[in-house]
């Protein structure tokens, strides 16, 4: 991405500190590994020089609003801005405490997919850069060109909101309008009979090591005490058995229905590479079809799971 975006971001954030508008600024700094960025939680003006803009933004920064108290400037892409809307809807954050700097997003590159497209191991990738609509990859002394659609994170391929939906200041930059009306809802798994889907997830959850990274990295997981850690009574055992893992993941999914904005962080961080977004996407589709609701898009639309109607056609809740 062009340096001028980065310069403008640093200037903007510095101004916020100078004018006393924020106590913290949340952005990214250069990571210590190839193709990684690291969250920057700046509390001093001097730290802002580390702000960094590139193609491998990981961590949905709205995550940190749970614990940072004070006025916060925050950098958001389209999907992250949807998390802010969800958090505002849930009363978790106050709009007046935030200064939102929006970054139009050209889609984030997934090094794992680049490696697949370039037919090499991820570790062998040396450089990834954009050239027009294509991605240039250097593996050893060789250069290869692969198409952008082969390398973007799956979630970015059908992103409907690459431009932040809520912001106080919008940085310049190209963003990609939705590439095509895709794919994720046409996931092959969904066409399969129930027993096969059950077998698929049983195998996936069998591998879960219960590190809870999916939950902890999720901006929508807002409970200060999670039910899986309660032991009086113990609803879910801490043992990583297939059954308890199943309960953990499905329960988490239900709890974030309507506030999960498909930012993809849970799937990105999973050390066992469990394809959690398949579940999130199914949930998002169901919400759209059954409740006419898309998470994190409209601040004024009530959350389906926080709404009670006397005339609800189902009587289980009455």
């Amino acid at each position: 991405m062009p340096d001028r975006v980065q310069d403008e971001l640093i200037a903007m954030a510095t101004k916020l500190f100078d004018e006393g508008k924020v106590d913290y600024f949340l952005g990214y700094k250069k990571g210590t590994l190839k193709f990684k960025t690291s969250p920057l939680i700046a509390s001093h003006r001097e730290e802002l020089q580390q702000l960094w803009v590139e193609d491998f933004f990981a961590v949905n920064l709205s995550l940190y609003l749970k614990e940072i108290k004070g006025r916060v400037g925050i950098l958001v892409k389209g999907c992250d801005s949807r998390s802010l809307i969800s958090l505002l809807q849930e009363g978790q954050i106050k709009r007046e405490d935030l200064y939102i700097v929006g970054l139009p997003c050209p889609g984030q590159i997934d090094p794992r997919k680049v490696a697949d497209a370039a037919a090499c191991e991820r570790e062998e990738l040396e450089e990834i850069s954009r050239r027009g609509g294509e991605i240039l990859v250097r593996v050893g002394s060789q250069e290869k060109t692969v198409s952008k659609n082969q390398t973007l994170l799956d979630k970015c391929l059908d992103c409907q909101h690459p431009k932040p939906l809520i912001f106080d200041y919008l940085l310049p930059g190209d963003y990609v309008a939705p590439v095509q009306q895709i794919i994720r809802s046409q996931d092959e798994l969904r066409q399969k009979p129930g027993l096969e889907r059950w077998a698929f997830w049983a195998e996936q959850f069998q591998r879960c090591i219960r590190c809870y990274a999916c939950r902890n990295v999720c901006p929508a997981c807002i409970c200060p005490r999670c039910i899986v850690e309660e032991n009086m009574p113990q609803w879910v055992s801490p043992l990583p058995t297939a059954g308890d893992n199943f309960v953990f993941h499905l329960m988490r999914l239900m709890h974030i229905a309507g506030t999960c904005v498909s930012c993809g962080e849970c799937e990105r961080v999973c050390p066992m590479e469990i394809p959690l977004m398949k579940l999130n996407d199914k949930m998002a589709d169901d919400l759209r079809e059954l409740f006419d609701f898309v998470a994190g898009v409209d601040l004024n639309k009530p959350l389906p799971f926080r709404t009670y109607r006397q005339e609800d056609p189902n009587d289980f809740i009455k």
Binding site: T37, S38, V59, E123, I209, A213, N216, E229, T241
Partner: protein, 333 residues
């Protein structure tokens, strides 16, 4: 003592061992490198190290310890049968083998842990020299030679015609006594030491200074607050760590019977030290400080070795790029 074997014969040899033992070797399962039953798979193409460390084969993430039954007021304990099937693991890396040796005294202390110790004694460890410095790793800084190790029964180096084996233990000697192996010289062994691709010229930090300084940093709350600010309190760093060994106990109860299980636990979890009236590590900076201080100092006080082997897994898989190497570098200054 050294021996050599061709690639083809190594496969045949490992296949032959399956008659006497469970043979595990690295393979990709669901896209992740893991030690799994050896099935003459194309060995090791692109293999650097497994996603999860081999500690799980010794300290399982889920292990039944004993069962019980109660009938008419009497309680009957059912100890589980001992683990005695022989195992061979091929392709282990020097960092992970050192980690197993590091864990040994923990589980062999005043209260011997039969499960870990039986798992260790029933397993032959066949090591393999590294050719690439893994991303995020700092094994050399931790005093580990990625191309040599005495922590195995047999340690292999690749060379153009196959593998040269350094026979380390008597068990290893018996295992490699078969005709598939030929005699090799010390000279051949030396020549097979290859270059490590991507190896750093200079160490990142001085380990001795880390060990000393970490105690000095211990009371510095601001330091640990700053370092741990972006930590999200997940268990990845501890679960992918080959030396982290904290566990939890949990009963599965059914009417009239039950089983006590052991599972991994993590000092990164807020509940880890939660007690009836107090949690001494409520805040995450205290937890992160504990993890670093334990590995690089407290463990040494107890067992005269440092509880980190520099494999780099925690560095690579941390969701927020909280890089232990950066922390150690700061501590060592």
């Amino acid at each position: 003592m050294y021996r050599k074997i061709t690639r083809e014969n190594l496969k045949k040899w490992l296949t032959g061992l399956k008659a006497q033992a469970e043979v595990l070797a690295p393979a990709k399962v669901n896209g992740l490198w893991t030690y799994t039953e050896f099935n003459s798979q194309e060995l090791l193409r692109g293999f650097q190290n497994t996603r999860l460390p081999p500690k799980g084969l010794f300290l399982e993430s889920l292990r039944a310890l004993f069962g019980w039954k109660s009938q008419g007021g009497s309680l009957q304990l059912n100890p589980l049968s001992s683990l005695d099937g022989q195992r061979v693991i091929f392709g282990l890396r020097p960092c992970d083998a050192r980690a197993l040796r590091t864990l040994q005294p923990v589980f062999a202390g005043d209260y011997p842990d039969v499960f870990f110790l039986q798992n260790l004694s029933r397993t032959l460890l066949l090591g393999l020299a590294c050719q690439v410095q893994c991303e995020g790793s700092f094994c050399s800084e931790m005093g580990i030679d990625p191309q040599d190790s005495a922590d195995f029964d047999i340690f292999f180096r690749e060379f153009p015609e196959g593998y040269i084996a350094r026979i380390i233990t008597d068990k290893g000697n018996i295992l490699a006594g078969e005709s598939a192996f030929e005699e090799a010289s010390a000279e051949e062994w030396k020549l097979a030491r290859g270059q490590i691709r991507g190896r750093r010229e200079k160490p990142l930090f001085d380990l001795e200074r880390v060990q000393v300084n970490v105690l000095e940093y211990f009371p510095d709350e601001n330091f640990w607050r700053r370092i741990s600010a972006k930590c999200i309190n997940c268990g990845i760093c501890t679960y992918v760590c080959p030396t982290c060994h904290c566990f939890d106990l949990c009963d599965l109860q059914m009417p009239g019977q039950g089983v006590r299980f052991r599972c991994w636990d993590s000092c990164a979890f807020p509940n880890f030290t939660k007690m009836a009236v107090h949690n001494p590590r409520e805040e995450k900076w205290r937890r992160y400080r504990q993890r670093v201080s334990h590995k690089f100092n407290f463990f040494h006080q107890n067992f005269q070795t440092i509880a980190c082997v520099g494999c780099g897994r925690c560095v690579v898989y941390c969701p927020v790029n909280l890089d232990l190497r950066e922390v150690l570098l700061e501590v060592s200054r």
